[in-house]
């Protein structure tokens, strides 16, 4: 019986899943119309169909497995681990001898009441908004520029991608040399041109350091914005522009009434991804300033690092990490919602 069923399964196995997916009640109706001595056969057939579906289901899971394994190992596990860590009194000793007790939300309370937090939140907000506005603005202008075909446009476009391709650590080290007050290239050029007479302390002045870090991050982020927006621009049908021209629309009108509405989904993706990337920016800041001087460039990401690996207070660092994750999650969910609305329209 077992073998027979298995044999049939094999035989019918060659037929694509459409057979396996046949509605069950069709089989039942057929069975009811048959003579009583066919009943047993029908039951067997039904069982066989169920078995087939089971195999198909199992196979489906098998094909899904790589993705599930990947997500569990590289996403779910660290996230769950981080959340658990944030709920424990995770000091070094506790972690080393597994005695870190659960302390509820006490780490969150300590982090939120920390006098450094307002500065960190303000810095992060300025960093994110400042970076995104200029990355997006300049990226959009460049995308429009490169959507015009002109000699060498392809080469230039690839060259502009370089900042995005370089590892953040490399960029950080190079920029650190460039922004050095006495020997850096930036001050050198500014003073050669005659714009400044005393060297600007880009990284050690508490008012300027954040600006410097934002400038660096804008430079890194422009190519990413440009690339996605350029792709979006390529997808706009030429007929729309022709129609607009026939209707007598000017350049500005065409931009606002054709380009922007068609580009809306792309713009949303760029802004959401830009927000998440900027919020979690870490390498460039830690190398340029390390969050200093006097916390003037301390962002949520660098602060979480300092709490964990500077103060060896892993619980509090994890709490900040979890808060950052929630902010990103809210932003991503808002995007998904608006995207669905877009599809329905």
């Amino acid at each position: 019986m077992w073998r027979e069923t298995a044999g049939r399964a094999e035989r019918i196995g060659g037929v694509p899943s459409a057979t396996a997916g046949l509605p069950n009640r069709v089989a039942t109706r057929r069975a009811a119309a048959r003579r009583p001595d066919d009943q047993a056969d029908a039951t067997r057939e039904r069982r066989h169909r169920l078995w087939q579906r089971g195999v198909a289901g199992g196979r489906r899971w098998l094909f899904l497995m790589p993705a599930i394994v990947y997500v569990c190992l590289l996403f779910a596990y660290p996230i769950v681990y981080n959340v658990l860590l944030s709920l424990r009194q995770s000091s070094v000793i506790g972690l080393l001898n597994n005695s870190a007790g659960f302390v509820g939300l006490s780490n969150y309370h300590t982090a939120i009441t920390n006098p450094v937090l307002p500065t960190v939140v303000e810095n992060t907000a300025l960093f994110v908004v400042g970076s995104i506005v200029f990355q997006f603005g300049i990226g959009f202008l460049l995308a429009l520029f490169f959507s015009q075909r002109f000699p060498l446009s392809g080469l230039l476009r690839s060259l502009i991608l370089v900042p995005w391709l370089l590892p953040g650590v490399v960029t950080g080290l190079v920029l650190r040399l460039m922004f050095d007050p006495t020997s850096g290239m930036v001050n050198q050029i500014l003073s050669d041109v005659g714009l400044i007479h005393t060297p600007i302390e880009w990284l050690t002045n508490t008012h300027l350091a954040l600006l410097t870090v934002v400038l660096a991050n804008i430079w890194i982020g422009i190519p990413f914005n440009m690339l996605l927006l350029h792709g979006g621009l390529q997808d706009i049908p030429k007929e729309l522009y022709e129609a607009a021209r026939v209707d007598g629309a000017g350049r500005a009108r065409t931009f606002w009434s054709v380009t922007v509405p068609v580009m809306r989904p792309v713009i949303a993706v760029v802004l959401v991804l830009g927000f998440i990337y900027t919020l979690k920016a870490f390498d460039i800041v830690i190398i340029l300033t390390g969050g200093g001087p006097v916390n003037s460039t301390q962002l949520l990401s660098t602060w979480a690092y300092t709490l964990s690996f500077g103060n060896l207070d892993f619980g509090q660092g994890a709490a900040i990490g979890t808060i950052m994750m929630l902010i990103s999650l809210v932003c991503a969910l808002a995007y998904v919602r608006s995207y669905r609305g877009e599809l329905r329209r």
Binding site: G58, V69, L95, A100, T110, G290, G292, N311
Partner: protein
């Protein structure tokens, strides 16, 4: 961690339908994932491993079995001079002890602490390990280190500094080659050119630094980078000598010490750029003649002596008033034996005994300007290395950074470092900056239940 991974492993196939070849494969796959996840868990920093701790058994033992010849694992970050000095010691050990091989793993100095903590959480520490002395409380507090007196290493022959550096709660866990601390290095030529005498008091330091600041030369430099360690390590001599207290950083002593920094910065004698400079950065400034006086330690003797045209002198850290002795922080790495199996601990002990033998200690301390851990060696050395005398006298009063505040030190260090930067940059008065720091200090002390 182990349980979660396994449970997750079962959850999916159950939803997947009847048992079939596919499901079996899936279970097998997930079981592998479970193992991988556990492996990942145990190698990550600060993971509370659910594996039974290997310690327990060792805590009550007083003697170790005789070591059996084999491989001894050693981990250190003595990278100066390509680590060739350590390599020579190891060669000598192996030739003296046939049958034993030392497997040495050199850690990158910047990541050594996190690497050690990662290994400790996974119970993967070597037989003998080098650590910076402020980390001793972290591992000793977790019960991961062998108390040295229980295996026959007595603190009686060691200098006070060596005992302080290797102890946690009055139990000796580590012994090093020697100790170091910091003093005032000055450029003799620059001082002579400005007719400035070597400063011994704070007032003299300010006057001298002011007079020396000209032609692009900074009169005085201290490291004040916010990388944990630099700013506070160099600030502590001033802080402690003035009577500062790490549990109450905003006391009169702390404020007085930070007022000295404020005064120096205001006069332009201490450049604000130091907030971005680590200890080796100011050493480079000194070698290049860009800083006339710096706070530095004996480990720079080698590079300084080989710098052409650099004629330097060493003086104790200036004190608030004449005739006081400076209280400086105690530096120096220690060797510790991590708890493992008696056989491995015995191997670690065998190598440790060789490394802290007078012959090895002498050659190390002589080459690196350190004050040897063993009293007899250090007095023999001082007769031959005159440069060390300043440090030798300072080390008598040197204090361990974690002696008073133990595990709260890293957090206090961050807070105090921020205060130092704020004052140098003129963002806050010393009192304001230290009041802010004290909030974090109180929180840190409370977290580790250190009563003040």
């Amino acid at each position: 961690m182990l349980h979660t991974a396994r449970e997750r492993g079962r959850a999916h196939p159950r939803r997947g339908g009847p048992l079939g070849a596919a499901t079996v494969a899936a279970v097998a796959l997930l079981a592998t994932v479970g193992t991988a996840t556990t492996a990942l868990a145990s190698t990550r920093a600060g993971v509370a491993s659910s594996l039974p701790a290997r310690q327990g058994a060792a805590s009550t033992r007083t003697t170790l079995p005789a070591p059996k010849p084999g491989v001894i694992t050693l981990q250190d970050y003595y990278t100066t001079g390509d680590g060739s000095e350590m390599q020579a010691f190891i060669k000598e050990f192996e030739s003296q002890n046939p049958g034993y091989t030392v497997k040495r793993d050199v850690m990158p100095p910047g990541n050594a602490e996190s690497q050690v903590l990662t290994e400790a959480s996974a119970h993967q520490l070597p037989d003998l390990l080098m650590m910076d002395n402020p980390w001793v409380p972290e591992l000793a507090g977790a019960g991961d280190l062998v108390p040295l007196e229980s295996v026959g290493i007595s603190p009686s022959g060691l200098t006070e500094g060596a005992v302080a550096a290797g102890s946690y709660k009055n139990v000796l866990y580590g012994v090093g080659f020697g100790n170091n601390t910091i003093g005032l290095f000055y450029n003799k030529k620059l001082l002579a050119a400005s007719h400035v005498a070597v400063p011994h008091t704070w007032a003299q330091l300010v006057t001298a630094a002011k007079a020396l600041t000209k032609n692009g030369v900074a009169g005085f430099e201290v490291a004040a980078d916010n990388v944990p360690g630099s700013a506070v390590w160099q600030f502590l001599p001033f802080f402690w000598t003035a009577g500062g207290d790490l549990e109450h950083v905003n006391d009169a002593g702390g404020v007085a010490a930070l007022t000295l920094y404020q005064q120096l910065a205001k006069e332009g004698a201490l450049p604000t750029s130091v907030v971005d400079e680590q200890q080796n950065d100011i050493a480079v400034d000194f070698m290049g003649g860009k800083a006339a006086m710096i706070v530095m330690g004996p480990w720079e003797f080698g590079p300084f002596n080989s710098t052409k045209g650099l004629d330097y002198g060493i003086a104790p850290i200036p004190t608030p008033r004449a005739g006081m002795s400076a209280v400086t922080p105690l530096g120096g790495e220690v060797w510790v034996i991590p708890k493992s199996t008696p056989a491995n601990e015995a191997l670690g002990l065998k190598l440790l005994k060789f490394l802290i033998s007078p012959a090895v200690t002498y050659s190390w301390a002589a080459a690196n300007g350190e004050i040897a851990s063993e009293k007899s060696v250090s007095s023999r050395l001082l007769a031959t290395v005159p440069d060390d005398r300043v440090f030798a006298s300072e080390i008598e009063h040197a204090r361990s950074r974690t002696g008073e505040v133990g595990l709260a030190y890293p957090a206090i260090e961050t807070a105090l470092g921020t205060a130092v930067q704020a004052v140098i940059l003129g963002k806050a008065t010393p009192k304001q900056a230290l009041d802010t720091a004290q909030v974090a200090v109180v929180a840190a002390l409370k977290q580790y239940h250190i009563t003040s």
